[in-house]
Every structure is written in C-alpha cells, then in structure tokens.
C-alpha cells in the first residue's frame, strides 16, 4: 500500500468510526458510554489523515518525495472500513450469546440495593433483577410486582425470558435469563423463540431466578436490544 493510500485508509477508518458513532450503530458493538471516546478518536483520526495528506501534497510541490517506508499489512485497515460502513453486522441475538445462565460475579459484595421505584409494577431491567436476586440484602424484590422486558427462549421444557448482556463489547456477550412460571406461561410456550415480551410478575424465592407471571404483552424489540449490569 502506498503512502497516499495509507493516508486515505486512515481518513476512512476515522470516518467509519465517526459514522457508527453518529448513527448509533455502535451500540450493537460496544457500550453506549463509549460514545464520547469514539467521537474524539474519530475526530483525531480524520485530523491525522487530512493533515498528512495536505502536508504530503505541500512536500511534493517542493520536490520532496517523502519516506520510502511501505507495508502490505496496512491493507487490513480496509476490512473494518468495509465491515463498518457497508456490511454493518446486526446486534447479537439469543443464539449468538454464550448460552449460559448469568452467574452474577461473587466478587461483588452482598449489599442492600436501592428500593424499587414506587408504582404498581415498576420496570426493572432483566440483569438488574438477576443482580438483586443474587446480591440484594435489603429484599427489595420480595412480594413486589415488577415489569421485565426480554425475548422468549425455550430450553428443553422450560420457558425463559432473556436479554443479551454486554460488559464492554460484543465479544463478551452473555445471555441473562429468568425462568417464567405461572398460568399465562402456557400461552408463552406457543410463542416462538426470540419474540419480545413485556412481563408482569413476582420473583419467587429460591436458588434459581424465577418469575411468577401474572400478565404478559407482546412488544416490539427496543432500539438497543442489549442490556447492561448496573455495577
């Protein structure tokens, strides 16, 4: 790859990083909190690319033929450009995440969690429910009706509500899931895998996280299908 092409590739890597950041496609790949860093990185890369191109053009005008260093390895920079701008892989689905129940890290100390919001059935994210089941010493979930959103996963004879949880980026995706029981679940079994539901229920005491469902409504998948641990 010639120096001019390397500069173009540098510029395009910056532009494609900026593009996935601005369009929001980056939430399929990394945590939303990375946004400001991505924008800074994109601006710096574009600046490096542009100033080098301008500097080289000036140098050439003055008869300077520049450095002679070449490397074929730089062609690899075309891969992320193509993948990020043109292919745009989708967010991970249930089948892609490592199919293990999330075992909340034992390194996180048991602690009292903040009380749930007031109201008849406050919305709690699925990973947050699992964290509270594993670590909450304040019993904030006991006898409380909560609303949880996720997609349906059937494993053998059991029906689960699940979310794909990412810690840093899509490479560390895990499947967080909670068992669904109760009368309306017979109905859910007829629902297909990956269909999205908003479920109302009460968490049952016991070692395996289980939600006793009293009502459920099919919903549209959220714009960002991932969920995140709070801690």
């Amino acid at each position: 790859m010639s120096r001019e092409t390397e500069n173009a590739a540098l510029l395009l890597v910056g532009l494609s990083t900026g593009m996935v950041a601005v369009t929001g496609a980056f939430t399929r790949y990394v945590k939303p909190s990375l946004l400001p860093w991505l924008l800074c990185a994109a601006v710096l890369l574009v600046a490096f690319g542009l100033t080098t191109i301008i500097g080289d053009a000036r140098g050439r005008a003055q008869g300077d033929h520049g450095h002679t260093h070449r490397s074929a390895i730089a062609w690899l920079l075309a891969v992320p450009i193509v993948v990020l701008i043109f292919v745009v892989p989708p967010a991970l689905g249930a089948g892609a995440a490592n199919p293990t129940v999330v075992a909340v890290s034992t390194d996180v100390l048991h602690r009292p969690f903040p009380a749930l919001p007031a109201g008849r059935a406050p919305v709690v994210s699925l990973p947050n429910v699992l964290e509270r089941v594993a670590n909450d010493t304040a019993g904030t979930l006991d006898h409380r009706l909560i609303t949880v959103t996720g997609f349906v996963v059937h494993d053998r004879d059991t029906t689960y509500l699940a979310r794909v949880v990412i810690t840093c980026c899509a490479a560390d995706a895990q499947l967080a899931r909670i068992r669904l029981t109760g009368a309306p679940v017979a109905q859910a079994s007829s629902l297909s895998n990956n269909s999205w539901l908003s479920v109302e229920g009460v968490v049952l005491p016991g070692p395996a996280p289980t939600l006793d469902v009293s009502g459920m409504t099919p919903t549209e998948p959220p714009a960002n299908t991932y969920a995140y641990f709070s801690s």
Binding site: V20, F48, L77, V79, A171, S231
Partner: protein, 345 residues
Amino acid sequence: MWIAVDARGCWHDVPVAVGFAPTRRRVGSMPILVAGLAAFAVSGRVLHTFVTGHPELATAGTVFCGVFIQAVPFLVVGVVVSGLIAAFAPAERLARWLPRRRGAAILAAAVGGAALPGCECGSVPVARRMFSDGALGAAALTFMLAAPAVNPVVLVATAVAFPGQPKMMAARCSASLLTALIVGAGWSKWGRLEWITRRLPAPHGGNSSRWALFREAARHDFVQAGSYLVVGAGAAALLHVLVPPWIFEHLAGHLLVGVLAMAALAVVLALCSVADAFVASSLSMLPLLPRLVFLVVGPAVDVKLIAMHAGMFGRAFAARFAPAAFAVATLTATVVGVLMLGGVR
C-alpha cells in the same frame, strides 16, 4: 508475493515518473482501494442481507466490530502519546537519561517503560534504537517488554475490561514488570551481540519540524498497530464462532492445561496490548489465572512480535528471545497469579 508488493511499493516512491511513463505503469494501490470500496458500496445491501441471514457470520462480524471499535479510542490515545514522545523525547535522549550501572539502568528502563504508553509494535523500533551497539542492550529489552505491558493506557483498559476486579490490574502490572526485569537481567548475563545480525537503518534527515515528527510517528503507529488490531479482532471473531464453549469449560477444570493453552493462545492471537484485556474479559468461563497468563504473555511475545524482532534485530536473536520470553512470562504470571489472585479458584 512479497516481491510483488515490494515492486509496487517501489513504483510509488517515484510518483512523478508514473505520470510520465504510462507504458511502465502498473495499477497502484489507490485505484485498487477506491475500486474495492466502490464495489462494496454497490453490493453493500446484498452483503448485509447475506451476513444477517447466516447467524454465525453475523456473530463473527459483530464480535469483530465490537473488539475493533472498543480498541480504537485506546489505540488513538496510545499513538498520540507515542507521537509526542517521538517529537519531544526521542530514543537517543531517553538512552542518555539512563543510569550508567547496568542493574540501575534495567530498573530505570522498566519504570520508564511503565510510565510511557505505547503499543508493542511501537516499542520494538524504540528499543532497537536504544539497543544501538549493545551497550544498553539489557535496558533496551527491559523497556521493550515493559512499555507495552505496563503503562497507564493498558492498565486503565484492563481495569475497564475487568470491572469489580482491581486485583487483575495489579497482578498484570506486577507480573509484566517482573517479566521485563527478569528478561533484561537474563540478557545481561547470557546475551550475545553476535545474535544481532540486523543493523540500524540510516537515520532520516533531521530537518523535520516537531509537529511533522509527531504527526508522522502517530500516523505510522496507528497504521501499523491498527492493521495488527484487525488481525486480532478477526481472530477473536473466528475463535468466538469456531471454538465450542465446552472447550473452555474443559480448560476451566484443568488449571495447568488452561494456563498453557491461554499462553499459546496469546502467542497465536497476537492482540494489541490495549485490546487484549477485552478479549480476556470475554473468556469469562475461564478462571482469572489463565486469563492473567494470557495478558502477560501477549505483550511480551506473539507471532507479530516474533516477526518484528526478526526484522529489527535478526533471526538468531528472535529464535532465542521468543522462547525465553514465553517461558519467563508464563512462569512469572502463574506465580504472581497464584499469590495475588488466589490462583486455584
């Protein structure tokens, strides 16, 4: 293949001649890039549908983007600092700052390497220049191992990748620093100058401005490290799809096998040291100890570093340095891991 690439490179050393001699003209890299991107732009919709329709391909693509996008900001911070160092603290000046006594020089190089952010790709040429005629050999090699593995950017990345486990960052820092010191001391005891068969290239003309030096170093380091990052992200994506989860569950049960497998994986994957913590963090089915070994071995020795060592120092050097660094890094990480992480968990 290499000759063809070199030949193409040579053509572009004389950009003016290309215009004047159309009969000798070959297709340059810029038209290939533009044509390739245009082809992908036209077929983008089809590609997207195809990838989305094949779950494993979609997963690989998403994991690739995840690893790459996550690492880009860290890489940019790294090359900005390496550019600043190239402009304001060149290797010659760094070498002049080192103490004269060998032991003190090795220690100073380790601390200096730890303070200065840089990718392993960037630290190899710096270390080669410090190495120079061999007087500062041990310190240069210590710096080469310490700079990519134990610096603020890498440690922050490790802390971000292992939330709730600050012990991991501390263990990585200690094990990598020890590895660098042991290898440096080993070189001063057993190292031979006749293994260094590659000589330094003639230095560039010294009339460049500070800003030009900065831009040039940052740009070069990003292109180099970014390209190797693509290899690493691609390997991680493939690994994610190809390696069945039961292998990791199997490794999880056998600590020794796990440690050796992760050490070997670190060599094969050749991840950038700012990105490897995120990959190690994704292998959450493994205990922390084998993942620590992965983080300590990776920046010290991997396939792309072996190639760079052979290129900058010579093959005889690379053939001895790689296995020595591998053994030292694996052992040190295991011992430090058992002591600091509680090991067998």
